[in-house]
């Protein structure tokens, strides 16, 4: 029995054309016994950054609180919101602080990164439980269904997916992967961030985050 698989749960993030998506299941269990079908593992960091925290449920809450505190301190000191890539570095250093007694979490970060020209480009990253960063161009996966997610994502993902197609791709990838994993499932949630080129104020209203519950948890 691995402590990383004690509570179950999975997260995936994918890049599209001027958009990015992050999705997770909603199960919380104690090994094979399911306790809750509404345990959120993905949290908003700013208006255009999300972090997914699959792993030990106790550390999901602890790290969420820790990141909230550190991002708030950053926002106050810098007088601006944190960029996705900067947040990924913050996640990495927070985890490496506990190198020899780690938090049992493998975070996934998704966001829209500001470019020098003022537009936004999709950004995803993932780390292992001690903060080793993996910046990917296509998709990142983590959690108990990660091996299945890799397989399905490898087959379904393609470059430059439009928002609607990205939503469908990430949804199908997640649902089909967690269906083959006993420790993940019981409902899912998808967060989608897009950049609209035609916006009159590219930085004032450049994006829209939408959240979709793609499968309801099993009704009690």
């Amino acid at each position: 029995m691995s402590i990383m698989e004690y509570n179950g749960g999975s997260v995936i993030a994918m890049v599209g054309k001027d958009c990015v998506a992050i999705a997770s299941d909603l199960r919380l269990g104690v090994q094979s016994l399911s306790i809750s079908s509404n345990f959120q593992k993905i949290f908003p960091v700013t208006d255009r950054v999300f972090v997914g925290l699959p792993g030990l449920a106790s550390d999901v809450t602890t790290l969420h609180e820790q990141f909230r505190y550190r991002v708030n301190m950053y926002t106050i000191k810098e007088e601006r919101e944190i960029e996705p890539e900067t947040f990924a570095q913050l996640v990495s250093s927070t985890l490496y602080e506990r190198r020899f007694g780690p938090y049992f979490i493998e975070p996934v970060i998704a966001g829209m990164q500001k470019t020098p020209s003022g537009s936004l480009k999709p950004f995803i990253a993932a780390t292992d439980l001690i903060g080793c960063l993996n910046f990917a161009k296509d998709f990142v996966v983590a959690g108990t269904a990660s091996s299945k997610l890799f397989g399905v994502a490898e087959g379904l993902w393609e470059p430059d997916l439009e928002a609607e197609d990205l939503f469908e791709t990430i949804s199908q990838t997640l649902l089909n992967a967690v269906d083959r994993d006993a420790f993940s499932g019981w409902g899912a949630v998808v967060h989608l961030m897009c950049f609209f080129e035609g916006s009159t104020h590219p930085l004032a209203q450049p994006r829209r985050s939408s959240t979709n519950r793609i499968a309801s948890p099993v009704a009690p």
Binding site: N7, L28, V30, L33, S34, I35, S36, N38, F39, L56, A57, S58, T61, T62, E65, G101, V218, P220
Partner: protein, 194 residues
Amino acid sequence: MDVSFAITGKGYVILAADTTAAHSIIKVKLDEDKIKALGPHLLMAYSGEPGDTVQFAEYIERNIRLYQIRNTYALRPSSAASWIRRVLADSLRSRKPYAVNLLLGGYDTNTHTPHLYWVDYLGTLVEVPFAAHGYGSYFALSLLDRYHDPEAPLEEGLATLKRCIDEVSKRLVVAPGNYKVKVVDKDGVREVEL
């Protein structure tokens, strides 16, 4: 071997815990109260390692009371749950962690909603419509998946709880004999007879 259940309904939370205090295979007490009232609208059922349980429950009880005295108002259920979780999560990475599992039932007098939290010794906190700890959870959770109704009046909630207790008595080899049942709603906390 402790068994505890909790269910929410229309404006209330019911908590039930067995009343046996066991030492190895011997029952040493049959009327132990394992549900503490932490405030005017907050109940906590605790189970786990003997010794840790009472020590932990009293520590929580007194700190929640201290907050109430200092601020003249009680912590809301969600805030109390967050703080209690933090105590357990910090304890987990200490030299001698508390091995205590909890069910927290509260009535939020600001929003007029009942809340139930499932908390384990690792510091896992999750809000649920119904919950159980111990061997009883293997029977009660599946039964509650079928019969729980979040809109049920108190009488129906108590009847559902009775089904859980009866099922455990029927099927569990080490089933406890007696339970204490407490309710929290808009009028505060009280004990009820099944």
